[in-house]
């Protein structure tokens, strides 16, 4: 192994993702938006998502020694985030739904894409709201795979790695999620 040269070091770093944790601050900076996006889309509450994002990186920092580089850092972090969402939803099911309902009415109005014309904004708001409401009706697993697939653009293999599910199970959950969302969105049209 050519570790004495720059190219050797780069190769070593690519081969071993565990080395990314040498600079944890950089890891946080690079992956925080992704983790936060996943948590916001999964929970619908920015404050809770922020808090769980911190928990995610704190857990990652504590257990970075156990990371062997068998998957990417991105996948590993998202696995932690998925578990945090699962625990959060299970432990605070009722509070979660209550809060998610409140967030809808207060914040979802501002979620519209600002790059479109004002005439289209109402329609966009309605569509975003419809998907948002539909995701609330999904099971926790369906919502997780849906968000990873359609918000984070992950493929089935990556989703399976992060969730600990088989690829066929991910596929089944995704199909159910799409069916449900299509049904809800279709009603709004």
């Amino acid at each position: 192994m050519k570790t004495g040269t720059t190219s050797g070091l780069i190769a070593l770093r690519i081969d071993n993702p565990a080395l990314e944790f040498e600079n944890f601050e950089r890891v946080v900076k690079q992956y925080r938006p992704r983790v936060l996006r996943f948590l916001v889309a999964s929970l619908g509450d920015m404050d809770v998502a922020e808090s769980l994002t911190q928990d995610c990186f704190w857990n990652a920092y504590k257990s970075r020694g156990t990371f062997r580089g068998e998957c990417s850092v991105n996948t590993w972090l998202m696995r932690i985030a998925v578990n945090l969402v699962r625990n959060h939803v299970r432990s605070r099911r009722f509070q979660f739904w209550k809060k998610a309902q409140r967030v809808d009415s207060e914040e979802i109005r501002h979620w519209a894409d600002r790059r479109i014309s004002p005439e289209e904004r109402a329609w966009v708001n309605e569509q975003v709201q419809a998907v948002w409401e539909a995701t609330k009706a999904l099971s926790e697993r369906q919502r997780t795979v849906f968000v990873l697939r359609f918000v984070e653009d992950w493929d089935i293999h990556e989703i399976a790695q992060s969730t600990g599910l088989t690829e066929s199970t991910v596929n089944v959950h995704l199909r159910r999620a799409v069916r449900r969302i299509r049904k809800c969105v279709g009603k709004k049209r």
Binding site: W111, A130, W132, V185
Partner: protein, 153 residues
């Protein structure tokens, strides 16, 4: 049999797993194409909304870095309150307590009158030896003591 995509086929297309048959149908059937495009657009709007929301938050937090606050630094409010209470206990309370003591010392009843001071001064000037020795000297007869040379008045 319907002329349009089944639910399963539609989902297959949405998940990016469409085979040649589905692709051919979407290309040929305007209704299914519009349905597919509308659904895809709706999902991408949702995605954009989430991305924008998070990007906005991150930009705001980056801007907030310049305005440092203890809360942002992770110092709990209860800890600040504890420090404030400690400051009050160590500095403020002793200050007030010590402020009361001089008032006690300046009690008008404890000040000697000018007459009393003059009387004490006279006694001191008339004293022929240190006050502590006076009890012993009182045992010696007056005449003997008075006749002794070198007495200082």
């Amino acid at each position: 049999m319907s002329d349009h995509l089944s639910q399963d086929q539609f989902e297959t297309c949405v998940l990016g797993q469409a085979g040649p048959a589905e692709l051919e149908h979407i290309g040929a059937c305007p209704e299914c194409r519009v349905e597919f495009e509308n659904f895809g657009r709706t999902l991408s709007l949702f995605r954009s909304a989430v991305w924008d929301r998070v990007d906005d938050r991150i930009v705001l937090q980056t801007a907030d870095v310049t305005t440092f606050t203890p809360a942002a630094a992770g110092i709990p409010r209860w800890r600040l309150a504890l420090v404030a209470a400690g400051f009050v206990a160590v500095v403020v309370i002793p200050f007030f307590v010590s402020g009361i003591r001089p008032a006690e010392r300046t009690d008008p009843g404890s000040i000697e009158s000018p007459e009393a001071v003059m009387e004490r001064l006279n006694r001191h000037l008339l004293r022929t030896m240190p006050e502590s020795m006076e009890p012993v000297m009182s045992l010696i007869p007056n005449e003997q003591f008075a006749s002794k040379p070198g007495r200082v008045q």
